[in-house]
């Protein structure tokens, strides 16, 4: 698919096509900015991106559409029987989705496997998703084996019922990760934090998005 020439400013129009909602305040989408910055400024052609938090994928589809990774016509058929775009992504239908997701806590372990093979991998998880214990199996192991080609992007919109004392980045640091917290709406700060590579450690970028 060719480049569309679409920019960040075109995303609201794509989101309207996806949802049929013309009055929505799209800035409330927690993942929109981090997904845009990753796809616009960070990901290289050999890098892998895995959306683990597959709930509410409208922002993801809009970004993939803008980047020419899904046909724009598909946005109009969202979640219909013949659509390749569902309410959770299916990577067999949409290769650009990286993985099929929906059930929480699967992306980070798969990302660890890909990083062990030498791939530079970015995996996006939510702070609520981190409730799932499978994530911590991956966080512990990746930290201990110093898996430096792995970056976990935690979109923290404070949805975890029991919270993360000291911030979720403290948990990653304890397990040996190089972790930072940035403003999840600040494109320059996101780009800088995401482009940095962990030195001898996996990297965690907590993108804070106040609900």
């Amino acid at each position: 698919m060719a480049a569309t020439g679409l920019t960040y400013d075109d995303l609201p129009g794509l989101l309207e096509r996806l949802t049929g909602d013309e009055k929505h305040d799209w800035s409330s989408l927690s993942t929109l900015d981090v997904l845009w910055v990753l796809h616009d400024r960070v990901l290289g052609p050999d890098d892998a991106f895995l959306l683990s938090k597959g709930h509410g994928p409208a922002a993801f589809y809009a970004v993939l559409g803008a980047k020419g990774l899904v046909p724009l016509d598909e946005l109009d058929r969202f979640a219909s029987f013949g659509s390749i775009l569902g309410r959770h992504p299916d990577r067999v239908l949409v290769p650009a989705a990286g993985i099929g997701s929906g059930s929480l806590g699967h992306g980070l372990p798969i990302a660890v496997g890909r990083a062990l093979a030498g791939r530079r991998v970015f995996v996006l998880v939510g702070d609520g998703e981190l409730d799932e214990g499978s994530n911590w199996e991956a966080v512990q192991y990746a930290g201990r084996v110093q898996l430096e080609t792995l970056t976990a992007v935690v979109v923290d919109n404070f949805t975890s019922t029991y919270h993360w004392p000291g911030g979720v980045e403290a948990r990653f640091r304890l397990e040996g990760w190089d972790a930072v917290r940035v403003d999840g709406r600040d494109h320059a700060a996101l780009a800088e934090a995401l482009a940095a590579r962990g030195a001898g450690a996996p990297r965690c970028v907590v993108a804070e998005v106040r609900p």
Partner: protein, 296 residues
């Protein structure tokens, strides 16, 4: 050499021979397999074990994943379903322990439900070998492809190795004699149970995909007996489907009480589940309702 020991030797050789092969472990097997850049022991983390295998498969490796059956299949079942099946990547899962090898260890280390669970998922090849020497060909098959394979090792074994990847007639009875289909390590007990009975006894180790056409071609009788070393009736539906237009009676033998709550030896468990020769014979006679045979 047990099946498990033979697996470790074959897996170590495969690592050297084939650069696609990567082994993923959760402690179990780490002491028996060599230290190698493509052996990943993730600690006691079975969900991660399956996820890592999926990630390696994404990158073109052929993951060999190994643990005790309950920790390989049941604990991370959603990872098996989604990280492998739904992502549409392949791996070979190789378990040990089977239904009651760990007879002294209790329920937590016994997985008579492993085969039926995996049989609910589409596209899996399931191999249940009955002799260590059968492993070589099964592992070669498993490593050659990109498909999803479950290879179930056990300490129980038949006296002789056979190729059970296709339905194989081991002893042929008269045309209308009962047809006994024994899976993997159940064969020798089934043979002993029917030593003086006019019966055809067949052997199968590749239970999925189920060889429906081969069964149709082989079965002349209207009495069919299925002997499976895991949950009873696991393949009853597959047999019924294969013979759907033929009047027949089916006896499904296997484990019916996974919560036995006994320790002791594997042989004692086999007998308690009615899967030793005497138990199979008792079930057969009762089912056929033949007093003469019952007295034999």
């Amino acid at each position: 050499m047990t099946m498990r020991e033979r697996f470790y030797a074959l897996a170590a050789a495969a690592l050297e021979r084939d650069e696609r092969v990567a082994i993923v472990l959760a402690e179990i097997g780490a002491a028996q397999l060599p230290q190698h850049p493509r052996v990943f022991n993730v600690g006691i983390r079975e969900q991660l074990m399956i996820g890592v295998a999926a990630g390696l498969a994404f990158e073109g490796y052929r993951p060999l994943v190994h643990s005790y059956a309950p920790f390989l299949v049941e604990r991370p079942f959603e990872q098996v379903k989604l990280d492998l099946g739904h992502q549409d990547v392949g791996a070979a899962l190789v378990s040990t322990g089977a239904s009651y090898d760990a007879s002294e260890s209790g329920r937590t280390h016994q997985a008579p439900e492993d085969v039926p669970l995996l049989a609910t998922l589409p596209g899996w090849t399931i191999d249940v070998p009955g002799h260590p020497a059968e492993l070589d060909a099964l592992l070669d098959d498993a490593l050659a492809g990109d498909h999803r394979v479950y290879l179930r090792l056990t300490d129980e074994e038949n006296a002789a190795a056979r190729d059970g990847r296709r339905l194989r007639i081991v002893r042929r009875g008269s045309d209308r004699a009962p047809f006994v289909l024994a899976v993997g390590p159940a064969l020798d007990q089934a043979l002993a149970a029917t030593a003086d009975v006019d019966a055809t006894v067949a052997y199968l180790t590749r239970v999925r995909p189920f060889p429906a056409e081969a069964l149709r071609a082989a079965v002349q009788a209207d009495e069919v007996v299925l002997v499976e070393p895991y949950l009873a009736a696991t393949s009853a539906g597959a047999v019924a489907d294969a013979l759907r237009d033929r009047p027949h009676r089916l006896l499904s033998l296997g484990i019916r009480d996974p919560e036995l709550r006994r320790y002791g030896t594997p042989a004692e468990h086999r007998a308690a589940h009615g899967l030793d020769a005497a138990g199979i014979r008792r079930s057969l006679d009762a089912w056929r309702g033949d007093p003469a045979l019952a007295a034999a």
